[in-house]
Symmetry: C2
Subunit: 334 residues, 2 copies
């Protein structure tokens, strides 16, 4: 019997997860039967939305089960196959992350298309990260050339893709990030201004940023954070501004709900807020690859990763998302 | 010189307005010159949005000026005219409310069309009230037959129009109102259930109402209230539910911002929130009259008014909006 190692959720976290909530345990792999492939993971994705899956949820993400392996996006190499169209050596995108090896049904596994880019991009700007940025900005927020775009967590994976996409499409971009170094990084992506949310109240800094770029308000808010960022966006939104609600990472780990001071502006400013999830757009991946791959190849959308090595590090990599340890996409290399 | 009486805003209210904030004062009317008409008001509209105009606003509604007459919707009779197309005896819809008489430019004044209904309807279901209900429900919230619709302040002017419209269009409707009598009224409008928000937490009552009508969640929320109602709507929204953000009357008079516990559901449930204002739809009034007038004539959309008599009572009528003194549209008859 082949054994693998997999991260298990052992109890549901209260607020910020800790090592007590998880365990890296051995699991027995099933038989390699017809239609299955054996994959050795090379890259694991850790993403903020996984925090929501650790809760008992009534809604969209399937909750992780207790004392069972967690899952998530991963890129791996096929080491054995009993499925048509898959052979040893193939690189594949699949959802059996948080572990080193897996035997899984070939259905739902994607062989990486040949786009002339490194495999890890399919966990980043050609995957959930870039896809979330692309569809959130262009579809959900209906962003267009000339718009003033505010994007929170702009040094993060999705945020940095949004900044670069928006600049490539001729928009004015204000990012937010925690601390001068991250803001430096955001500006290096050609953002027109950066709000350092650790330097003072977000709304004050955002107003200064608007002055700096010579405009009075925002047309688009790409929300990765919620709470004080979202409230500040209500405050400075222009008439008919559109909010792409991608994440509220700040909310995942706060037990106390946030008191919104400017939410009433939704009415008078005719704001539109829309929540979305990348997987809603699976059937439009062709459009996305066609738009994104050239921007990656031309360098207009650069990838930046924070890489941690080894399956042992996966949980710390995940925790790092909430302490701001990552710049760009957080990845685990096996 | 002809004198009139007009309500003036004397200071900006903190929270709930009081009589100290306003005064009923004499004003001199201007000369009746070319292009002007002299109107004697018969009906005045008082509406929750006027509270927002009492604040110093950066946004949409023009603020009332201090120590100046306030304005608002009114129906009056022309008593003298120097404008083409207007003659003494004409009934007109105009915006010089909060007073008994006015001399105003004929431009922007609407002669009431002959739809076989009483003049006050043009301040109610054929005016701002019904129009807000119609465009909010059908356009902003994209409501359709079979949808489950939750509407707050359902015994109020806009709310009761929403209830009846939605029922006429084949939707399931849950209203909310304060106290058993108002809920009785809401049910008399054919609402399938009514949440008495004074009887306990809105979310609990809403969940009971959903059980009562045999459904698990709402497709549409028509928001007149904000705060605990809005938060409860987040909690029970179905995937892809649409929120028409019409008003947050609860917010106008609370100094403390509300802490939203379920706002994160915007993301996972892919909710869409959109703020709107009736005046955005001026160019679609023809469509609205064509849809609404038959429903009024057939009795499918009934009008209910709370009428207070005399200009002296106008401010108390307005205050009544916030204490729940009205059932249906609050009007002042002169």
């Amino acid at each position: 019997m082949t054994m693998a190692k997999a991260w298990h959720l052992m109890q549901r976290p209260k607020g910020l997860p800790t090592h007590d909530d998880v365990a890296l345990k051995e699991v027995a792999l099933p038989e390699l039967t017809d239609g299955m492939i054996h994959v050795r993971n090379r890259w694991l994705s850790v993403d903020p939305y996984m925090r929501a899956r650790m809760d008992e949820s009534e809604s969209y993400f399937e909750s992780f089960q207790l004392d069972r392996p967690m899952d998530g996006g991963a890129v791996g190499e096929v080491v054995a196959s009993k499925a048509d169209g898959f052979a040893p050596g193939d690189m594949v995108l699949h959802f059996a992350g948080w572990r080193d090896e897996a035997i899984i049904p070939a259905q739902g596994v994607h062989k990486l298309p040949e786009l002339g880019v490194e495999p890890f991009h399919f966990l980043a700007n050609l995957g959930l990260t870039g896809g979330t940025a692309y569809f959130g900005l262009m579809d959900v927020a209906s962003a267009k050339e000339g718009d003033v775009v505010f994007v929170s967590a702009a040094a993060g994976a999705v945020g940095s893709a949004v900044v670069q996409l928006a600049k490539a499409k001729g928009m004015t971009v204000i990012g937010s990030a925690g601390g001068p170094e991250k803001c430096e990084f955001v500006r290096s992506l050609n953002a027109d201004a950066c709000v350092d949310y650790k330097a003072g109240p977000v709304l004050n800094s955002l107003k200064s940023a608007l002055k700096e770029v010579g405009t009075k308000g925002i047309d688009v808010y790409f929300d990765n954070v919620g709470r004080d960022h979202l409230d500040a966006a209500f405050a400075v939104a222009k008439q008919e501004a559109r909010f792409a609600e991608c994440g509220m990472i700040d909310g995942y780990n706060h037990e106390d709900p946030y008191a919104y001071r400017y939410i009433m502006y939704i009415i008078g400013k005719r704001l539109r807020l829309k929540g979305f999830i990348f997987t809603d757009y699976q059937e439009r991946m062709g459009e996305f690859y066609a738009a994104m791959a050239p921007l990656i190849q031309s360098g207009q959308v650069k990838s930046r990763e924070t890489v941690m090595d080894g399956l042992d590090q996966a949980f710390d990599a995940f925790l790092g998302l909430f302490s701001g340890a990552n710049t760009g996409k957080m990845l685990v290399r096996l």
